[in-house]
């Protein structure tokens, strides 16, 4: 939890934070009641308390480097969107085809030509957005196509968090490494197949859109599990590990039908 975290205070290193914990200063209340902070650090902590009370996730986002933002996860769990987009490619004329959002109420698919125009509005409700490689890809792409968005939300990019744990690679490689491999035929698809699925859907291929949505839903639904894993690994043995982090965002992707023969066609 953020209240156990001290590295965002000016002049504090991870070693200083560990020393504080070792000296029995486990959270901000302990720290303010102790004599282990100077006036400036005390003031910084009071600002943090006010920011947390005001649900100002951006403040905390600015205090942490991308790889350390996992610390924000439990405190903003109810206001978190796990997000992944699909596009028609990476080139200049490529465009967004869909965006999947998972939060504590479930999974929602935003489709180009259908309900994509609701996305900017809906994103306003979140204080935290969690992606995989979203700092470089998803969020800039969304902003490029849809204009300013997520201005009041912090961003946890799990790719950076996993790099901090020494794990590099794409989403599926990381899943495999940490034992969260999904198995199944859809996990064999890539972003390129998602482009083909979109094009097939535009050409009137029945069930291609449903299959694209399921593909996206599987990727998005994997993010909370990865976030829990990353939080667990980073916080183990520290006061932040209690009570730990269990995301309330979960979605049973098996409730979304998809066309297995299309997947086989793409994997041929």
């Amino acid at each position: 939890m953020l209240r156990n975290s001290f590295v965002h205070i000016q002049g504090f290193t991870i070693d200083d934070e560990e020393d504080l914990w070792a000296n029995g200063v486990r959270d901000w209340d302990d720290a303010l009641a102790s004599d282990q902070l100077n006036a400036e650090q005390r003031q910084s902590l009071e600002i943090s308390l006010a920011a947390l009370a005001a649900r100002d996730a951006v403040y905390f986002s600015e205090q942490y480097r991308a790889g350390s933002r996992w610390r924000l996860l439990p405190d903003f769990d109810d206001e978190t969107a796990f997000l992944d987009i699909e596009t028609t490619g990476l080139g200049g004329d490529s465009y967004l085809t869909m965006c999947g959002i998972l939060d504590s109420s479930g999974f929602k698919a935003y489709i180009r030509g259908d309900n994509l125009d609701q996305l900017v509005n809906d994103l306003d409700q979140y204080k935290l957005v969690v992606t995989f490689n979203g700092i470089s890809f998803d969020v800039p792409w969304l902003r490029r196509e849809l204009g300013p968005l997520l201005n009041n939300a912090a961003h946890v990019d799990l790719m950076h968090v996993f790099r901090g744990l020494g794990l590099r690679g794409g989403l599926k490689k990381i899943e495999k490494t940490v034992g969260l491999d999904r198995g199944g035929d859809l996990s064999m698809l890539t972003g390129r197949d998602a482009v083909v699925l979109w094009n097939l859907a535009q050409d009137g291929e029945p069930n291609a859109l449903e299959t694209l949505i399921r593909y996206n839903a599987e990727d998005v639904s994997s993010l909370p599990r990865l976030a829990e894993y990353a939080y667990g690994q980073n916080s183990v043995g520290t006061p932040m590990a209690v009570p730990g982090y269990f995301s309330t965002a979960r979605f049973d992707t098996s409730t979304l039908p998809y066309d297995s023969s299309l997947v086989q066609y793409l994997c041929r």
Partner: protein, 309 residues
């Protein structure tokens, strides 16, 4: 064309052969095609029709609802030597309970290409005329599940209460939002009349290229049994499922590539089942917080006790 003529034209798509009087009815519906993997959904309902000798009483004329270039009529040779053309069928059957209990309305159709609202209006009309108290839609999908585990049958319902007699049945509330299918349209249409509904999906292993999957049909019918007042004999289907499983084991025994893949699916299936059965994360955190609070409470009580001394 005036409104009256339009309505008459729409209603003329319902081809009645009988007007049964049904009461306290459970309405079961399944569509062939893609929401009917290995024909498991429609076969479950056909098995019900067969066992109960349910009566066909009305069908929907396909003319206005299908693009026949997409959903082609089928031509076949009859034993008499003649040729028979079969159009997409959308048929309603009924079964009346002898003891005045719940009657059954069974619909087996094909997902239409066109005019979903009119199509669901027609189904709604039959449901209303049949005193429908509960709708249960049945589907089957190809999924990444292993054939070596119990067939997965999932249920969902937008209603927390499925009505008198079904209070014990609890399904997950669907938490998907986005482009939707015909069942959602029908559920919404009947929901406007406060008719509760549940949706049941059987999951068939996608790597099995089988025309039928009796194991899954058996599992779907077992799930449906709780909605049906009539006793359903599953023994024949159970035997068929057993033979099907044995044949599968034989057919896949020398395919090492499949074996490895199935092993991975088994691991995934097991962890998913564990995940499904685990308490909701929020409940887990609450439980842990309660425990810690309790611990703190007992520590404080102990300290107080010391102070009292």
């Amino acid at each position: 064309m005036g409104t009256k003529e339009q309505l008459a034209r729409v209603l003329s798509a319902l081809l009645y052969t009988e007007h049964p009087i049904l009461s306290n009815t459970v309405f079961l519906a399944a569509w062939g095609g893609w929401p009917d993997a290995a024909e498991s959904a429609t076969r479950s309902l056909r098995e019900l029709v067969r066992q109960l000798s349910a009566t066909l009483f009305v069908s929907i004329d396909p003319e206005d609802f299908f693009d026949f270039a997409e959903q082609r009529p089928m031509i076949s040779n009859e034993s008499s030597g003649s040729r028979k053309l079969t159009w997409p069928k959308n048929e309603f059957y009924y079964w009346k309970a002898d003891d005045g209990g719940r009657d059954l309305l069974i619909f087996i159709g094909v997902e239409p290409n066109l005019k979903w609202r009119t199509y669901t209006d027609l189904i709604h009309k039959i449901a209303s005329e049949s005193d429908t108290r509960l709708l249960v839609t049945v589907g089957a999908l190809l999924d990444s599940v292993p054939h070596t585990r119990s067939p997965r049958v999932t249920g969902s319902s937008v209603n927390t209460d499925l009505g008198p007699g079904f209070e014990h049945i609890r399904y997950a509330v669907p938490n998907y939002e986005g482009p939707s299918g015909l069942t959602s349209v029908l559920v919404d249409r009947l929901g406007q009349d406060n008719i509760p509904s549940a949706s049941i999906w059987g999951h068939s292993p996608h790597y099995l290229q089988v025309a039928q999957n009796p194991t899954l049909t058996h599992a779907i019918l077992s799930e449906l049994q709780q909605f049906i007042a009539a006793p359903i004999d599953l023994s024949k289907l159970a035997k068929e499922a057993e033979e099907f499983d044995e044949n599968l084991v034989r057919a896949l025994s020398d395919q090492q590539e499949i074996e490895g893949y199935v092993k991975r699916l088994e691991e995934r299936y097991d962890s998913e089942e564990e995940y499904r059965q685990s308490p909701e994360p929020a409940a887990l955190v609450q439980e842990l917080e309660d425990f810690l609070r309790q611990q703190r409470g007992s520590d404080e009580t102990a300290e107080d006790g010391d102070n009292d001394d």
